[in-house]
Amino acid sequence: MLSGWFVVLLSATYVGVLFAIARFGDARADAGRSIISANVYGLSLAVYCTSWTFFGSVGRATSGGLSFLTIYLGPTLMLLCVGVIIKMIRIAKAQRITSIADFIASRYGKSQLLAGLVTVIAVIGIVPYIALQLKAVAASLAVLFDQPGHTIHLWGVDSTFLVAGVLALFTILFGTRHLDATERHEGMVAAVAFESVVKLLAFVAVGVFVTYGMYGGFVDVFQRALAHPELAGLLQLDSSRAGAWASMILLSGLAIVFLPRQFQVMVVENVDESHLKRAVWLFPLYLLLINIFVLPVALGGLLHFGAQGGNPDTFVLTLPLSQGAESLALLVFIGGLSAATGMVIVETIALSTMICNDLVMPALLRSRWLQRQQQSDLSGLLIGIRRVAIALILLLGYIYFKAAGEAYALVGIGLISFAAVAQFAPALFGGMYWKQGTRAGALAGLLCGFSVWLYTLLLPSFAKSGWIDSSFVEHGLFGIDWLRAQALFGLSGLDEISHCLWWSMLANIGAYIAVSLHSRPDALEAGQAERFVDVFRHAQRVPDSRLWRGNASLSELATLLERFLGPQRARQQLAGYARTRRVSDWRSLPADAEFVHFAETELAGAIGSASARAMVSSVTREEDLGLEEVLDILDEATQVRAHSRELEAKQQALEAATAELREANERLRELDRMKDDFISTVTHELRTPLTSIRALSEMLFDDPKVELEQRRRFLGIIVSETERLTRLINQILDMAKLESGRAEWTTGEVNVGDVVREAGEALGPLYREKGVHLSIDIAEGLPVVLADRDRLMQVVVNLLSNAVKFVAPASGSVSVVVAREKNLLQVSVADNGPGLTAEECGVIFEKFRQGGNTMTDKPQGTGLGLPISRQIVEYFGGKLWVESAPGAGATFIFTVPLAKAAPEA
């Protein structure tokens, strides 16, 4: 038998350790070195596992087998939807939201009515849940001292009352230390994370003890259970309960977000969004570990105590005690205490914030008393209200526990609470993703869902406890059969939770959507809808300041802040804000819309968005913008975003176009320069023969006594220069025609071999005259090509006459080869002349550039032959190039595609 004083001492020590951790966490937070790491955040989410998990899971497993797991599978799946949670955190941070009531109220136009309704639903739904925690602590104490009743008296006071009192004290000390603008309680979060570790260790310890100490491991426990037909049923899933399974997963998935304590630790206490990445697997892992021994312990208990042996809810304590393992029982007791205290502390803090901001403040703000206290500092009053609220909630919980006792209303309360907070889902999710959702719709949805929940779940649980007449459950309200509370409209065959969930969600979602579609939001609502739904897109660019117009006084707003935040904190925040606007003293700030927005947000952190809104409008003269104007501004903002994106795209297109134009311009300039060069070269080339013709003619004209021989020579030169001139002009015209594309082409099938042979014959006299050897080698059976015969002849003649010009007389030789190269016909003209340098190879195809030194030697051609030839060959789709090295002769090669590939003329 354990000594009562020892247990009290142990509990006190444990609570003392919690105090120390919380104190340390707060001190670190004040020093700016937060101890909230990703792991602490992930563990703090495990406040989800209350004593209902710690003691109750085993109890549920003894009756429902594995179905208790749904309570933990739902949160696992919900947490994987990280995007939804991050969006909630982002919105809450942008709007300084401090509770779930504030979140919903803020979205629907900062409505005090909505905030109040959410608070009332939460309090009604949660107070019994708190009572359950007190009961769990009381029950575990009773087991520890082996007393049949739940009342153990210390100093004449009921121990459960004592527990409630200590919890209230702890919560007050660490939950309402100061009014933080963001309502963050880092010390409390650290303490809760520590408690999570303790309860996990305790549960795993008892699990290992039962599974491996009392039995021979998992297999042994399961095999023994399977031997009992009534226990074997617990090890199978009953597929007829598929609906209950699914609705339980849905319900617990919603609860992990909407229970006020979960919203508090997950959203409000979140320090860094990236912590969620750890929580997304750490928290489910925690749930898995704390559940893995539940079934073995339940089966072990049933096997050990027999069917009638004691309360399954306390198996985790009674099993170790039955083996005399008292220290393990103490550890389990501390684990259960952790589970209960963690839940109670966070839940009461969350609820007290809601009660203070959303129930008491609105009433207080209307009262004359507050109006008389115009100048006084109200931050103390706010803290006072919260402390009273905490004490009151725990007192309510205690009273409920006392009243309900062993009654059904307490045992089933876990899921009943889940179903209550699930009613927030349509208004909250709808508000985050659907701009059309209105305040009227949210109110209607919540009221309908809450009423159905009340009628189908809470009141029947009262009836089952015998507090109220149960005729409405058995026979229907007013004896109307289809109003039977747990078979509404004759819907039977479902368990009570699924039944309630189905009808309440139908009513809730239906009313929310129908009323939203038939109502128009006011200006404020429309603005908030935009900020919530588009929180990722807006970031800092929300036209917050443009959605407010009016007159405000800087000092009045500052006084307001001082009253609610306390003078010190208000000045701190004002100075911080002034720095962000690059002003040294906040008094020199303009009292503009942006400042009003800042003041309202700061106030919202302290007293909730609805009350903050009311306070700010009481000291400013605000112009009503009207819905149309607000929508215009929001549309404009959306359009500006769209336009800026368009603009960006257009700018890129413009830049590309500019680059293209610049390139084209460069090309044009180059062409222009080339044209100028061409003209000056042409005139120069024309002047050279003209000059010699004129000079010789003048000599003949001036001096009639020139000798006949001399005269003949002069006239000979004149004739040849005239011929050169004519050739030059013809070629220039030819070139111009080719370049402008006006040349006439007569395309037909041409035998290249014949053309080459003919050209060789035509130039034969010239070669013989100079004593140059010409060899022509034409491959057999060459196919025809599509080309202009005369033009092709022009190219060959040009190449042959060029070759003969540059080879040495007598020793020179030129060889022509015509051959087929794949689908091309290749003609090469090789000479043994002086050859060309690499540089010359490049330039000889330019107009008026000739081989040899044009400065010293007399030009031997017009300098247009090769450019014209190249134009012709390229017209046929072929190529003309030269291969040469100085001293090794030159080979001019051109190709013509075979008939199939030839271009259409």
Binding site: L66, L80, G83, L235, K277, R278, V280, P284, L288, L295
Partner: protein
């Protein structure tokens, strides 16, 4: 324009994947026992554990 983060999408896909695996009618499939332990017990904790493992891999890979 802010794109949807791939990590969030992958985790969301895991949730969508997990829902049918952890509800009926799939849950009706594991029958009998494996190595002396009821198959449904192994199945539920197995699927749950694998989901957690995958989520951890997806979420923690991002940091590197």
């Amino acid at each position: 324009m802010k794109r949807l983060s791939p990590v969030r999408q992958r985790l969301g896909a895991l949730a969508l994947f997990g829902v049918p695996l952890l509800s009926f009618p799939v849950l009706g499939l594991p029958q009998g026992e494996v190595a002396g332990i009821p198959a449904i017990f192994l199945y539920l904790f197995g699927v749950w554990g694998v989901l957690i493992l995958l989520a951890a891999r997806v979420a923690e890979r991002q940091g590197k």
